[in-house]
Amino acid sequence: MIAAATVSGIGRPRLGKALPGAIWAFLLLTPAFVSLASVSFYPIVNGLYLSLTNTSLITQENEFSGFANYVQLWGDAQFWNAWWHTMWFTAASTILETVIGLGMALILCEAFKGRGLVRAAMLVPWAMPTVVTSKMFGWLFDGQNGIINYILLHAGLIDQNINWYGSPDTAMTTIIIADVWKTTPFMALLLLTGLQTVPNSLIEAARMDGAKGWITFWHIRLPLLMPTLLIAGLFRALDAFRVFDLVYVLTGGGPADSTETLSTLSYKVLFSTLQFGYGSAVSTAMFVTEGIIAIVFCLYLVRQIRRAQ
């Protein structure tokens, strides 16, 4: 193709003309669509079908069973336990990451020495494999020799070591902290680019009129940043909702199911009990919840943008 392209000189019929653009577009888009269709769309549809069967790799059954799995799901305490944990994790980490991320972005927005260094350092948590982050926080929050216990003990904030991720009361908090560590800086970088698009002239004008920093932030920067903030929040929420690596490696869903989330529960039903029918029902329910979150967010976003105009 390429050789043909270079020899076809001026005056001769052009290859681009010989094959209409529409056919080229189709050819060039096909590989991407085949890939996405086979690895994303097909599994979603197939998962939906599997969730209506009693497929199990142990009993080798795979018959249509209607909504039996969903009826079972509705009455499954483990599922609702995981559902609530997932919602709590999503809400807590998204809100914390957005608020702290905004704070970081506001600092990075100012000119100071070493700003480049800080910006660069913020990419470290993002680049790290989540499995490594999990192991790292496992060590930081280790019940016996963890540095967190050591610091808190010596600062006089606690009087004995806390078994952070070994105790149902603190395990989820530990996971949320790990997630906030990993993702907040990146959130801050996204928000920073949003902040930088707010025209300086507006802020200057407000200052000329005697507005204090806090007021310019609240009435000028924040409203203008709102679309960015909402989109970043949406992406973060959808990402947080499917949390897997962090939980699976740090606590495995324990202790006493206190950190079980929808992803870890699905994984266990699928690969420990090999009930692919029921496991698919769990993941489909998760897909639907995620879809609803996305739609609600988008509607809210559209309304906000309309109101701003």
Partner: protein
């Protein structure tokens, strides 16, 4: 703006910056230091940031006993293959969407982007069954095919964004000279997009290098397991070898961090183009 800042504000900004620096870098530095400390020092009850005595025994354990290099090799094969495939397929799609008259191209872009929002746990079960039927469990192929699809949305979006910034007069001139459509992509657009290709490739590489769920489900032995799976399995039945884990973590993370710091400006630009675009 600078002159309006009070001394108190200046102090607050520097304090905040310091806090961000410690917060982002601290845990990793602590982990890195752990990898050079003797187990005795790690459990002594008086932790120190400076490894004294300094030891490489955890690196020895990681490579000799746990055969870390085999996981590293598997990860390299899978991630590099994924990167090149992603760039190839992604640039074809991005080029078509940016340069050819595709009807409803923003709709297509939205569909491609929405794929990246699917919860991966919903894909893993059905794909596992397909991989079993095709005999693809414990192969690089299964991981590469999967990671290609996971990386494509971001790669396509970022490349599309970049291609859109290239002036259209250039392709008009090229077409006048009789350059065909694939020639336009290969000889003109791609060479002009080199910086963007490097950044996008790095993003695809990191995605594949760090992926855990599919690698966990699709591989069952050290011949094909990737690094995240290897590190997750490091834990001993009776105790957690924190030092060995720290050493393995350093081996897989330090090169990545160096790469990221080197390309940081491009990465931030690339990701904001792909992530938040209005």
């Amino acid at each position: 703006m600078k002159d309006t800042r009070s001394p108190l504000q200046t102090i607050a900004i520097y304090l905040g910056a310091l806090l961000i620096l410690v917060w982002s870098g601290g845990p990793f530095i602590w982990q890195f230091s752990t990898s050079f400390q003797l187990d005795k020092a790690l459990t002594s009850g008086s932790p120190s940031l400076i490894p004294a005595p300094f030891t490489l025994e955890h690196y020895y354990n990681a490579f000799i006993e746990k055969e870390l290099h085999r996981y590293v090799w598997n990860s390299l094969v899978v991630s590099l293959a994924t990167t090149f495939l992603c760039l190839f397929v992604g640039s074809l799609a991005a080029f078509a969407l940016s340069r050819l008259n595709v009807k409803g191209r923003f709709g297509i872009l939205m569909v491609i982007l929405s794929v990246s929002m699917f919860p991966q746990i919903a894909l893993v079960g059905p794909l596992y069954l397909v991989a079993t039927n095709l005999g693809l469990l414990d192969t690089y192929t299964a991981l590469i095919i999967t990671y290609l699809a996971l990386g494509l949305p971001l790669v396509t979006w970022v490349l599309f964004g970049y291609f859109e910034t290239l002036p259209r007069e250039i392709d008009e001139a090229a077409r006048m000279d009789g350059v065909s459509i694939p020639g336009l992509l290969w000889h003109i657009i791609l060479p002009m997009s080199l910086p963007s290709l490097v950044t996008t490739g790095l993003l695809a590489f990191i995605t594949a290098w760090n992926e855990f769920l599919f690698a966990l489900a699709f591989t069952s032995n050290i011949d094909r397991q990737t690094i995240p799976v290897g590190i997750a399995n490091f834990t001993n039945q009776y105790y957690v070898p924190w030092g060995d884990i720290a050493a393995a973590s350093a081996v897989v993370t330090v090169p990545l961090i160096v790469l990221v710091l080197f390309f940081q400006r491009h990465i931030i630009e690339g990701l904001t183009q792909g992530g938040i675009k209005e």
